[in-house]
């Protein structure tokens, strides 16, 4: 029997606002344990949660960026369960009246066909504390770090619109790009600011009803999400084939063994409206104001790049997938750099160099202004491409202007016809054999001669002019 998979995703995203969701503690979960705490996020008796305006705005921007409809009336519920990372006994989450409903992202399936993945809803919730398990002497102990407790999260719940790991991966990449665009989160699965759970079920191909789903957690990269889904589809298909029933439960992805392992029965506790956090009522004006703050989103920007700069669709999509990259590119063109050159040097030279140094484009020492100054020298033939690559690497070491580095290293190209003519005369005299080859119709010798001239100039000669002058010289003597 052939099976098809039905996959839905639940994505938790940590918002990057300065404070926690319900108090003024810094939103920095990575600090020294239990530094960023107060009676509210420690959930002490008598404390009252106070919803952060900044978090609400970041969450609303994120929803609008995904095309979801902000709900003018939304509210927090108490999601009841107990675990040592939630000593309060309930998590504040929006179960009944979420912040936004609907929306979606266009993705391409394996065959390159466009497909819309719909979002069911987006809600806000507070993160729970972090448990650290250690051994003290021979006794296992568990410690609780409350720095993460109360950190603002949004959860994006999709419709079960995916049928392959590829589609899920495409969706997550596009989602990450869009959320980064609106500036609500860095969305790093590696750093835990984006966490993905996948709900997966299989059914005979073409069937209409859905089978029991299994939830898979603990993937810490987008690639792992794909691997885990692929494994789970295989596992469930085999077990249905063997006539076994699939039960509703949660499984953990083991990245080393590349398998999913059962964790626990899925627990769905009750949710009651929280009587203390007031219902959030958002006016049409407020929502419109948020919408006006939305930046140009990736798809729109890519289309504009094609129209405005004559880039290919692929190039435009690449540049606009990340707001920093797109912004950098546009800053280069504003400096007068030709779009193709800007695109090419950004993609093949600068971005790899930044990645290698584990830096970020937005705060790297190579600013658009410095990079543009370098590319301008290249386009004006003041330096050649090799020298430009060399200078780029040196731009990371300090704040000198590129021209100063070019001069200090003696990279400036020699384009003076007189100086180059003298070099050419010398090379032609010295390489009589090659000249003879040319005379005998062996074209290869031309390249050899250019190489010798370049070598004689210490790599500084402008190759274009060398070729031109050498051509004239040979014409004259042959």
């Amino acid at each position: 029997m052939e099976f098809e998979a039905v996959i839905g995703l639940e994505i938790h995203i940590e918002l990057n606002c300065p404070t926690k969701l319900f108090c003024d503690c810094p939103n920095r979960p990575g600090d020294e344990p239990n530094r960023n705490t107060c009676p509210t996020c420690l959930w002490f008796p008598g404390a009252i949660p106070r919803l952060s305006q900044a978090a609400l705005e970041k969450a609303a921007l994120l929803c609008l960026g995904l095309g979801a409809e902000i709900q003018p009336r939304n509210a927090f519920d108490q999601k009841v369960y107990y675990y040592p990372d939630l000593p309060k006994g309930y998590q504040l989450s929006q179960a009944h009246l979420p912040l936004a409903r609907g929306g979606g992202i266009e993705i391409t399936d394996e065959n390159g066909k466009l497909k819309r993945a719909r979002i069911h809803h987006v809600h806000m919730e507070e993160d729970v504390a972090r448990l650290v398990h250690e051994i003290e002497g021979r006794t296992p102990i568990s410690l609780v770090d409350f720095n993460r407790a109360g950190v603002p999260l949004v959860e994006i719940v999709t419709e079960p619109d995916f049928s392959t790991p590829h589609e899920a991966i495409e969706f997550l990449k596009a989602l990450r790009a869009q959320v980064r665009y609106v500036g609500s989160s860095e969305c790093s699965m590696e750093n835990g600011t984006m966490r993905v759970d996948a709900n997966i079920s299989v059914r005979p191909r073409g069937a209409s009803e859905m089978n029991t789903k299994v939830e898979v957690k603990n993937m810490n990269s987008i690639r792992h999400v794909g691997d885990a889904i692929a494994h789970e589809i295989g596992r469930q298909s085999a077990s249905v084939q063997a006539g076994e029933a699939v039960t509703l439960h949660t499984r953990l992805w083991d990245p080393d063994k590349k398998v999913t392992l059962p964790m626990r029965a899925k627990f769905e506790g009750p949710c009651i409206p929280d009587p203390t956090v007031p219902t959030i009522e958002l006016s049409r004006e407020w929502i419109d104001d948020m919408r006006s703050r939305l930046p140009e989103m990736p798809a729109t920007r890519a289309a504009r790049f094609v129209a405005q700069y004559g880039l290919s669709g692929e190039e435009a999509a690449f540049l606009s997938s990340d707001p920093d990259t797109a912004g950098f590119f546009e800053a280069l063109t504003a400096e007068g750099i030709a779009p193709r050159m800007a695109m090419h040097w950004l993609a093949t030279q600068l971005l790899p160099a930044i990645k290698e140094r584990r830096q970020e484009l937005h705060n790297a020492p190579v600013t658009p202004g410095r990079f543009a100054a370098l590319l301008r020298m290249l386009s004006q033939d003041q330096i050649n491409a090799n020298a430009a690559r060399e200078v780029l690497l040196r731009l990371f070491d300090g704040d000198q202007p590129p021209a100063a580095i070019v001069d200090a290293c003696g990279f400036r190209q020699v384009s003076d016809p007189e100086a180059l003519g003298a070099l050419i005369d010398k090379v032609v005299d010295a390489e009589a054999a090659a000249v003879a080859d040319l005379r005998n119709g062996q074209g290869k010798a031309m390249g050899f001669l250019i190489g010798r001239v370049m070598q004689a100039s210490g790599g500084k000669a402008n190759p274009k002019i060398v070729r031109e002058l050498l051509g004239k010289k040979l014409e004259a003597i042959l």
């Binding site: 008796p45 008598g46 107990y82 040592p84 309930y90």
Partner: protein, 399 residues
């Protein structure tokens, strides 16, 4: 347990200034006073000491009042079992007491101590630092000898608190003394609120109404056919909220952890099981049942609550205030049962369901009638206290 105090402030009162200078105020250990034990009457919080002052406490201090201590209270202030509220005023150890009112505790404590007891409008007084149980029903009640004292206290503590977002954006209340002109003042009497009274209680209530008539007020008979639903709504919504919000009062962090557990899960379960007393435990279990198994009943109760609120608002808009029987329906000294507790508060809990203010006035000494319970529309607190002042001044207590 001779003293009504659970904790006495060891610090001598400073020589403060302000409208409440010289007033001694007793709180309960469910109101946070920095450094004071705050167990809210429960083993689950046995070792908890408050980290900071509740907003109410801060404002009382700013107004010059001194806090003399915390009195013994029922577990989480639910009902009056173990509560000694009112006694500190009777023994003149305090001029006023703050008593959390979840279903009428401040008013019933006032009946017992023969003092005035007032539950302010919901949202009028900050709840920051209040270790409560039923967030949407409870309000910090005030006990004192006279409505005038209560008004002065309320002036000091009422109003917006930038740390309590749950307070509605109400305009500040006018709590200045007001003149009452009885012939122009209509007092509504809700017929259904008298059902369930014994013949004796009914007779006492009738004679209270006669007193009002004699004082020149015009009485208006009114009907609220669903009055009996208040109790049911309070019981369902209250228990569900309690069950959920009591999650944070886990004996694991603040109270004694149960010994002999095999793992943390078992330790957690055993500690919680040992932490709560029988009455509260049955209340929490009832709330958990509605949460997990009968959620639709909870949703219905919320809908009925909204309906009752509208009906009560309509009645309140037709009169200057409403009068209700002031009855302590205590069931005697049997085992603590939820049904008995709800029976005891049957004539007070309506105001917790609706969030309206309610004032208990004790009868004059040697009077043949009972005290009165007055209630008004939400935020009519100033008018209600002025009316109380007027009525108390008709029969000065001559103390």
């Amino acid at each position: 347990m001779d003293s009504p105090f659970f904790y006495r402030n060891p610090a001598a009162p400073a020589a403060p200034s302000g409208p409440l200078a010289g007033s001694k105020i007793a709180v309960q250990p469910n109101l946070s006073v920095a450094g004071w034990p705050a167990d809210a009457g429960s083993n689950a919080l046995a070792d908890f000491k408050a980290l900071e002052d509740a907003t109410i406490v801060k404002r009382l201090r700013q107004a010059g009042a001194s806090l003399c201590g915390a009195t013994r209270m029922s577990e989480f202030g639910f009902g009056l079992r173990g509560s000694r509220a009112g006694e500190a005023i009777r023994s003149q150890a305090a001029d006023a007491e703050l008593v959390l009112d979840l279903m009428g505790e401040s008013r019933l404590a006032a009946i017992r101590a023969a003092v005035c007891g007032f539950k302010p409008s919901y949202g009028l007084v900050s709840r920051l630092g209040l270790i409560g149980l039923i967030p949407s029903m409870e309000s910090c009640g005030l006990l004192a000898e006279t409505p005038a004292t209560i008004r002065e206290l309320l002036k000091a503590v009422a109003g917006q608190d930038c740390l309590d977002f749950s307070m509605p954006d109400d305009e500040p209340l006018d709590l200045a003394p007001q003149d009452i002109d009885p012939p122009k003042t209509t007092i509504g009497v809700v017929a259904e609120a008298q059902s369930g009274l014994t013949a004796e209680q009914e007779a006492l209530f009738r004679s209270s109404l006669d007193q009002l008539k004699q004082a020149g007020f015009s009485l208006l008979e009114m009907s609220l056919p669903e009055f009996s639903l208040f109790s049911l709504v309070h019981r369902i919504v209250g228990s569900v909220e309690a069950s959920s919000s009591a999650g944070r009062y886990d004996s694991v962090r603040y109270g004694p952890r149960a010994a002999g557990a095999k793992n943390w899960n078992e330790m957690y379960l055993l500690s919680r099981a040992a932490a709560f007393g029988p009455l509260l435990k049955s209340y929490l279990l009832q709330g958990a049942l509605f949460q997990f198994e009968r959620y639709e009943a909870y949703e219905n109760a919320c809908r009925i609550r909204a309906r009752l609120l509208r009906q009560m608002q309509r009645l309140a808009s037709r009169a200057d205030c409403l009068v209700f029987p002031a009855v302590d329906g205590a069931a005697g000294g049997g085992p603590p049962l939820l049904a008995d507790t709800y029976g005891q508060f049957a004539w007070t809990l309506f105001a917790n369901v609706t969030g309206q203010p309610a004032l208990y006035l004790p009868p004059p000494p040697d009077a043949a009638h009972a005290g009165l319970q007055l209630a008004g529309a939400r935020l009519s607190d100033g008018r209600l206290l002025a009316l109380g002042e007027h009525l108390v001044n008709l029969h000065p207590r001559g103390k």
